[in-house]
């Protein structure tokens, strides 16, 4: 390679091709995905104010180091069988999130549909306790809370930890603004809406578009592989 010019051209070409292909290709396809409107509402929903700010808290604490927010389709692991979501996550789920925190490691459970978990999604108190005390591999985030003297009435948001160290009399444990935003965010994480592209593809040979009723009671099956049988679920 004696010609420096062609060499440089090759370098730029290599980078440019991959950028054009993957980055701009996916950008063209996915950047203007509209929300999906079915007969009752449009989805995904916007996060209400507190919850939207909570995403920043989630990001800045680095929660995605241990938690993912992407559910894979039923034949690709046990995500659906564990009750983390009814269907796989698709691009449309993330269009209104400023920084989708997809995550890469599951030291803790997936959080995509935390607020849509059945039978009982965690409520504010559960989440505050979890943040304050930690659980298993999850550390305690005590710095998100403040122990302060009770002035007048006990605060609405005060939490009663069940851990070892009791709060001294006359003091209350109150979550900081960041904890409140974070919990609001977590309680708005749900993907109960259903999109056409998230439905499993019909089995080969039975390609019926539209709504052919299936009498099979098993959860949605894809063309290859069998869905894992959800015999009993341990607490995720």
């Amino acid at each position: 390679m004696k010609h420096g010019f062609y060499f440089l051209l090759g370098l730029v070409g290599a980078l440019g091709l991959s950028w054009a292909g993957i980055v701009m290709g996916s950008n063209t396809q996915l950047a203007s995905l509209p929300p999906y409107a079915d007969d009752t509402d449009t989805s995904p929903p916007w996060f209400p104010g507190e919850a939207a700010r909570g995403e920043y808290v989630y990001k800045d604490l680095g929660c995605s180091a241990c938690h993912t927010q992407q559910v894979r389709r039923p034949d690709f692991g046990s995500d659906v069988a564990r009750g983390w979501g009814d269907r796989q996550s698709v691009a449309r789920d993330y269009i209104y999130q400023p920084f989708p925190q997809l995550g890469n490691n599951r030291v803790g459970p997936d959080l995509t549909n935390l607020a849509g978990r059945r039978p009982n999604p965690p409520d504010e108190e559960d989440l505050m306790k979890l943040l304050y005390e930690g659980h298993g591999g999850m550390p305690a985030y005590k710095f998100l809370f403040e122990q302060r003297k009770i002035i007048g009435q006990v605060s609405d948001h005060a939490i009663k930890p069940s851990g070892a160290a009791p709060i001294p009399a006359g003091y209350e444990l109150v979550p900081s603004r960041r904890a409140q935003m974070l919990v609001a965010y977590l309680r708005n994480l749900n993907t109960t809406s259903d999109y056409p592209e998230s439905r499993p593809i019909p089995a080969a040979g039975a390609e019926s578009a539209g709504s052919a009723p299936k009498a099979k009671p098993a959860p949605a099956k894809a063309a290859s592989g069998a869905a894992p049988a959800p015999a009993k679920k341990a607490t995720p």
């Binding site: 390679m1 004696k2 420096g4 060499f7 440089l8 370098l11 290599a14 980078l15 091709l17 991959s18 950028w19 993957i22 980055v23 996916s26 996915l30 950047a31 995905l33 990001k59 800045d60 604490l61 680095g62 929660c63 995605s64 180091a65 992407q70 894979r72 690709f76 692991g77 069988a81 796989q88 996550s89 698709v90 691009a91 449309r92 269009i95 999130q97 400023p98 920084f99 989708p100 925190q101 997809l102 890469n104 490691n105 599951r106 030291v107 803790g108 459970p109 930690g134 298993g136 591999g137 999850m138 550390p139 305690a140 005590k142 710095f143 015999a231 009993k232 679920k233 341990a234 995720p236």
Partner: protein, 464 residues
Amino acid sequence: MNAEVTAIDSLSRRPLLLLLASGLAWLLLGGLLALIAAAQLIQPAFLADCSFLTYGRTTALAETAFVYGWLANAGLALGLWILARLGGEALRAQNWIVVGTLFWNAGITIALIGLATGDVTGFSLLNLPGYVQPLLLVAYGAIAVSGILAWGGRRRSMMYASQWYAVAALILFPWFLSVAGVMLFWSPARGVVQAVVAGWYSQCVWTLWLAPAALAVAYYVVPKVTGRTLRSYSFAALGFWTLLFMGPWTGGRHLIGGPVPAWIPTIAVVTGALLFFHYIIVALNLRDTFAAPGVSLRFIAFGLAAYLLGGVTDALTSFHGLSMVTRFTYVETAEQQLALYGAISMIFFGGLYYAVPRITGRAWAFGGLITGHLGFSALGVVGLVLALTVAGLVQGGGLLSTEVSFAEIGELTQPWLVAVLFAQIILLFGNILLSVNFLATLALSPKAEVAQFRAPVAMEVSAS
């Protein structure tokens, strides 16, 4: 004029040593942070009350210090040195390099402080807050200018493989960093496109920056020490272009099964397989490394083996069957450590041990520390990667089943994570040995032993 050490080295001493010294400082800091992160995985309560060192931030800090502190500085130092030697002139624009290095290190410091106070980006290998990126780009440009000048002003018009790889690493990094900076920070793309850009960026870092930087070192040191031309060298260009053209397309690897259209991970699988061609050619070219003596080549041989193994495992774990078990587990961490530490870092260590005597004109101070570092690094890397892999497989097996709770997974992976902690301790200890040796070498008075370089002979053209 065929002496081994010439004015090229002695005149280029100052900026190169500055780069290497900063790199080693970041290596130690990164090792300490990785130690903290490993400890926090075992005992979540460790430092949990310190908001600056919560686990999510510690992993980001360790990774940034290691990649953008140590690997960047070392890669730049070795790349510039090789370009200067092959170009036939001492480094030009040296003040630019010094200023650039200082600003780069300042930028990384700001980035680390930013991460510790909460500007974690959430993107793997791109934990650089947006506000620090322009500074880093300018600093990198200042350092890279010298390399481009060394390449542009080279005495011979032909380019040797090390020069292709080094120039590619120098030129491409600012481009894909700025693209990622724009599309992720300044004018963020919508929704999952961010994940696609982040995946593309992390593969660019690996295939367009770090791997070329390491291969530049390997392609230079190996024939110099063995005294023979590289085997099958006529195919080296094919290997180079395959890496460049196929490499970044593997970005979708991190999105298998994820919320992106199927073609993105599929293209990643396919180009990962096509990259085998690059690995085959690199193995063919550099196969003499494994039999040759010398501590530099031992490090480079280890790094090369890790590089090839990493390429194979990366491709294999992209497929559906394996990725069902390995996705979202420590196996992916193991793959990253195999690549960044086992391959790149070890090759850089080899280059370091080869280059420093020539740059300083003195032999290394303690031979025992060198063999110690080799032993500890090899042991540490093998231990780290194995422990993370087993932990990941255990975790993956538990995740696949619907009946295993996270508490149980935690218990099962615990012993392996303890092994990871020990591996990090061993690695850090080895790096302390290296740093002590480096400081001692620099501190030796000029009257100490001047390196006795053998007179070079003409290179044997090997039958390939």
